[in-house]
Symmetry: C2
Subunit: 246 residues, 2 copies
């Protein structure tokens, strides 16, 4: 209806548990468009681990407040986006390979499918994504291009805690010692990316493998960026940084 009236619409898809990173996306949407839709849906299809899905932080009341406080016009919380006999998948088979795609089987298929559903429902002019989920941005840009979806994707720089840890809903689940560990991890990633050499990356791998409380999933240079995923306790963290001194 808004589109028919000539209003532009910006859309920020989230999985709830909003933090200042989300807030930055919503504020950007508000500057950009006449109307802003924020969705909150913890998409079961993109969790390769049931435990991660069950433990994903949820706090709907606070989220709604944060979204409308940041300027969202609609806070859209579908109960489900999958009929019991849902049988349609959107799958991107190039950019979803490697990195998180290698370790999280089916993850990007779930992401692509739910985002196409959300775009069909919201029909925005712009979709604003956090760069923190970098491979997700790459995959969704490809999906939007390939399927000619009538939306433009804007990605917003990763918002970080003071110690450099990328903001993530999953951070809420870190213990105090885990949080310290995660901060150290983030600094090591930053330093290795600054260095940018193959030697620095293999040094990072060794260092993270030796860091207590951290389980390294991958550390790879792809497209001039250093991409890292690790677990601290049962919390999965990801980050990526441009290689070289900025």
């Amino acid at each position: 209806m808004w589109r028919k009236k000539g209003y532009t619409v910006a859309f920020v898809p989230t999985m709830g548990a909003l933090h200042d990173g989300h807030k930055a996306l919503i504020e950007r949407a508000v500057r950009l468009a006449d109307r802003v839709v924020v969705s909150s849906y913890v998409n079961p299809a993109q969790f390769n681990s049931k435990g991660d899905f069950v433990r994903y932080p949820k706090r709907p009341g606070r989220d709604r407040q944060l979204a409308s406080g940041a300027g969202a016009d609609i806070y859209f919380c579908p109960k489900t986006l999958y009929a019991v006999d849902a049988s349609t998948w959107v799958e991107e088979v190039d950019r979803s390979q490697g990195r998180c795609g290698a370790t999280r089987r089916g993850h990007f298929r779930g992401v692509a499918t739910v985002v196409v559903k959300l775009l069909s429902i919201v029909q925005p002019n712009w979709m604003i994504l956090g760069e923190k989920d970098g491979q997700q941005c790459e995959v969704l840009e490809r999906v939007v291009r390939d399927l000619y979806l009538p939306v433009e994707i804007l990605s917003h720089p990763t918002v970080r805690e003071k110690d450099g840890l990328p903001m993530s809903s999953r951070n809420m689940r870190l213990t105090a010692s885990g949080r310290t560990c995660a901060g150290l991890w983030a600094r090591k990633v930053r330093d290795a990316a600054r260095e940018g050499s193959r030697l620095a990356v293999s040094h990072l791998r060794r260092s993270l493998r030796g860091q207590k409380g951290v389980r390294l999933e991958y550390a790879e240079v792809v497209g001039g960026k250093l991409w890292v995923a690790a677990r601290v306790g049962n919390v999965r963290l990801i980050d990526h940084r441009k290689c070289g001194r900025q």
Copy 2:
């Protein structure tokens, strides 16, 4: 732009080589909507056989005339809908099983993918499909439902030649004797469906296996309908009929 002006749009996707079946779809679209878009695109991704793709009839000049004669406002002939590095697929994994899905590997994935692309580009209120491609209708209804695509599918009854052969662009490729064969095939399918019993279907199978020039692919009752596919020469024919006397 039409949608912004408040016009309704009906869309008829085709692979060109238009015949009276397509004409009936276009005329229905004209009765229904303010504006009618007909697309013509021989989608490489839905051909499981390269030979079938290469031999698929093409006659663009005549097609354009037929479409505009029937009332189409736009006759849309994209050169390609796949970038060289296209890597996104839409796949329906339930209704696309069995029947044509069993013998034409990847066919319905190609159909679903290209139709989502076309719907993104055309953004119609209605998409009108020929019932002759019955399983295709079932698959696309599921895709549209599952992905919340903002379009309504209408399916139009199969248009037939005088002897009951469903109209199909592929019929143009039948030889004179193949055409006779195909007519006989269609009458056998009609009679078996009227009878509707398991005995009649197994009799049909035996009869088609014995018919010179015909290679039966399948004959199955699914959802109260008899579905049959066969080859006459190198031309693939499909039909389905409600079981029981109408």
